[in-house]
Symmetry: C2
Subunit: 443 residues, 2 copies
């Protein structure tokens, strides 16, 4: 990495930090006005953005022809048609969402005139590394502004021109508001992204949006906290007490409704007592939907002609119309399998037995644990969060679909009257530790 | 690192993970019963533990004599006298605290029969690296059990025998309960601690309790999330609108009430309009309390005979009766100084001006922001949390004094009835997204 790059990125990060301090002092209305200005600017720059996007698309078409890019990835690059309108609609929805900043979730009177409040506040500067979809640049920047954070963005190589045009429009909008334009900045090279990962005094949280390999590689190269938006190896377990019809609905929807995403199921586990009658039916329905089955030995006996599953199938994220199937002896075996091979994303049990469901909920170590519902519901929009940063498989800070809440932390405010800690202790004053009723809050 | 160590630690971590799954399925009562068993076992093993501690103390005395250990550190090692009783009392208090696990903080009806709950749950396996104080071994293990987590502990070399005796007693207690003894395990060498930092499939959170260098070195050597319990460079800013008496109380208490800890103040900032009359008074009171003053040029003119402050003084954590003093032109300059040189721990403003306080609260990027109160209040016990893991200067997950809440995360439970995601969308079913009233919760 050249010294030039490092010092250039450090200067960008420094300006982002300063912008974040300014942002932290703005109220809800000022941040929403800035988002309105961004909306106006994006609307005004529509043609320029779409022209840049067309150039990216032409380049991508050449790559696809040469076999250097997948057609699916190229499709995600496209901003034309309804895509751009959807981006603007999303921003309008975001502006209407409640402010995640300034929420009080603890108010305690420590003593007369000594009041403690825990108040949500922005995290500071986010470093976001995302792949392909250029609309993510808008979503992420505006989620950041809404939650009072500055952001350094690094998009995919294929979307370079689109991202540049979008970020230029966003910054032009911000320039007309109280939010400094430097609250949103774009990195363009991989070298710059690497330099960013080393800037832990300036960057507070790294959010990778992309493949498991991207997330893992970032985690290994930074000491900044990473909010891991990984892909998913999701399971459906059909319990001994499963309702056959619900099992079919949940299994087929989990696998086939949109196989290319992280909340699609990759493995079906089925209890040995339920398998003989139910597995052939499930297999038939999956096969009708075009799904390839990869079965363990016991499942193969029940599904003649299916392919055998190898050890690596239990760890595979197919993102395709393929499912691995295993017959298990017990709920315990199912839970152990999920905790061992899964990615702690979302796993479902199909059962009419409430106690089995409770055991599954307590012991399956995943962000989402479902009874009789498709794993495909794991999504910020479906959960009612409105806007989503991504789905986190981290075990700290924020887990599962992450909305605006995942982009804030809190600070403790203490209001005193010249209070000294030395006046409290054995034989001296004691603490009251009384909750302060809402109508008496200072905030 | 030898292969032996790695595989040994991996096997310990694996057993801890299995213990954590078991723990996650136990209710409040079972976890509290396990803590009662630990309490009984510690009580029964008191003599053996104190004997081990005396051996550590003798060894430490030799090190102090040779100048290889500080007397302060040796004092913190001592478990005799009231120390052991205080440990048991702390455990009794912990058992009585509310369960942080199983708390529902979001309940949404997505559609008829499709209910989403966000429920707090243990994080999993904690890796805790702590220095000197062996009572921390008990505090941390029991906080972990209370919150449903397993823990791998690595204590300081000086407390080796004390920690071994304590952990042996804790495990003997657990063995009589439903919690597996492997929920608490002790690492003894630095090599083992290093091996632990690489076990990210098994360890979910690393908690270093010790110096800034320890925290930083750990952050650089692991891709596991770190809950940073760093030391503190805390500031008191005496504003133009400060009340002189409150200023004196807050400054003197913040600096002198217990200078050796992270929430003691290291720097005094004072507004140029207040400095001429107030700084000489504050300086006199600090000097009376034995504090050495290190002043910038303007402050030195007001405090004749004081030492000059160098650039490194603004970044110094003295942990001693020394304070750096700077005259600032404005609130803005004070805030900038704090954000630039501080450690984002706890910073106080002394002012009667509510708007100045609000600006300070919004823009100072610290876990604690105080008006007219001593920085020394930054502490879990004083905040009313009962038990404390430490003070976090992280910007994610948990910030400030961290109680049991910092040791839990949440999972989303979704209860359905065979619901398919494919049934929702434009022209199909819509989502209700209605909050579920508490009396109708399933949990």
């Amino acid at each position: 990495m050249t010294h030039q790059t490092t010092s250039n990125i450090e200067s960008m990060a420094r300006r982002a930090k300063e912008a974040s301090w300014r942002l932290a002092s703005l109220g809800t209305a000022a941040r929403n006005r800035a988002l309105e200005a961004v909306l106006d600017s994006l609307t005004a720059c529509r043609e320029a953005i779409l022209a840049a996007n067309r150039q990216d698309m032409e380049e991508a078409a050449r790559l696809v022809e040469r076999g250097d890019l997948s057609a699916a990835l190229m499709k995600r690059l496209d901003l034309s048609g309804d895509k751009f309108t959807a981006v603007l609609d999303g921003l309008r929805d975001l502006i209407r969402l409640p402010d995640p900043v300034g929420q009080v979730d603890l108010a305690t009177r420590l003593d007369e005139g000594l009041e403690l409040y825990r108040v949500s506040c922005p995290i500071g500067v986010l470093g976001v590394i995302f792949e392909a979809r250029p609309d993510a640049a808008v979503q992420i920047s505006t989620l950041a502004i809404k939650s009072g954070n500055a952001v350094l963005l690094k998009g995919g190589r294929e979307a370079l021109r689109s991202n540049a045009a979008l970020v230029e429009a966003i910054r032009a909008g911000l320039a007309k508001s109280e939010v400094p334009a430097d609250a949103v900045q774009l990195l363009t090279t991989r070298e710059e992204a690497r330099a960013m990962l080393a800037l832990d005094p300036w960057i507070d949280l790294i959010i990778p949006r992309g493949s498991n390999e991207l997330v893992r590689s970032i985690q290994e190269h930074t000491s900044i906290p990473v909010l891991g938006h990984a892909d998913g190896i999701c399971h459906v377990y059909v319990d001994a007490a499963a309702d056959p019809e619900k099992a079919a609905r949940v299994v087929v929807d989990s696998k086939t409704q949109y196989p290319a995403v992280c909340n699609a199921a990759e493995t079906l586990l089925i209890h040995k007592d339920r398998a003989p009658r139910l597995l052939p039916i499930l297999a038939e329905q999956l096969q009708k939907a075009g799904v390839e089955l990869r079965c363990d030995a016991r499942a193969r006996q029940l599904v003649p002609g299916s392919k055998p599953a190898a050890e690596e199938d239990w760890r595979a994220e197919y993102l395709d119309l393929i499912i691995s199937i295993k017959v298990v002896d017990s709920l315990d075996e199912a839970i152990e399998h999920i905790n061992r091979y899964g990615s702690h994303h979302t796993d479902a049990i199909v059962t009419e037995d409430g106690r089995a469901a409770e055991a599954f909920f307590a012991r399956v170590d995943s962000a989402g644990v479902y009874q009789n519902a498709s794993t495909r519901f794991a999504d910020g929009y479906r959960y009612g969060f409105g806007a989503e940063v991504g789905v986190s498989t981290s075990k700290t800070h924020a887990r599962g679909p992450v909305g605006l809440e995942g982009l804030v932390i809190y600070k403790y405010r203490l209001y005193g009257n010249g209070h000294r800690a030395g006046d409290y202790g054995p034989g001296k004053r004691g603490y009251q530790h009384q909750p302060i009723p809402r109508e008496k809050w200072r905030i």
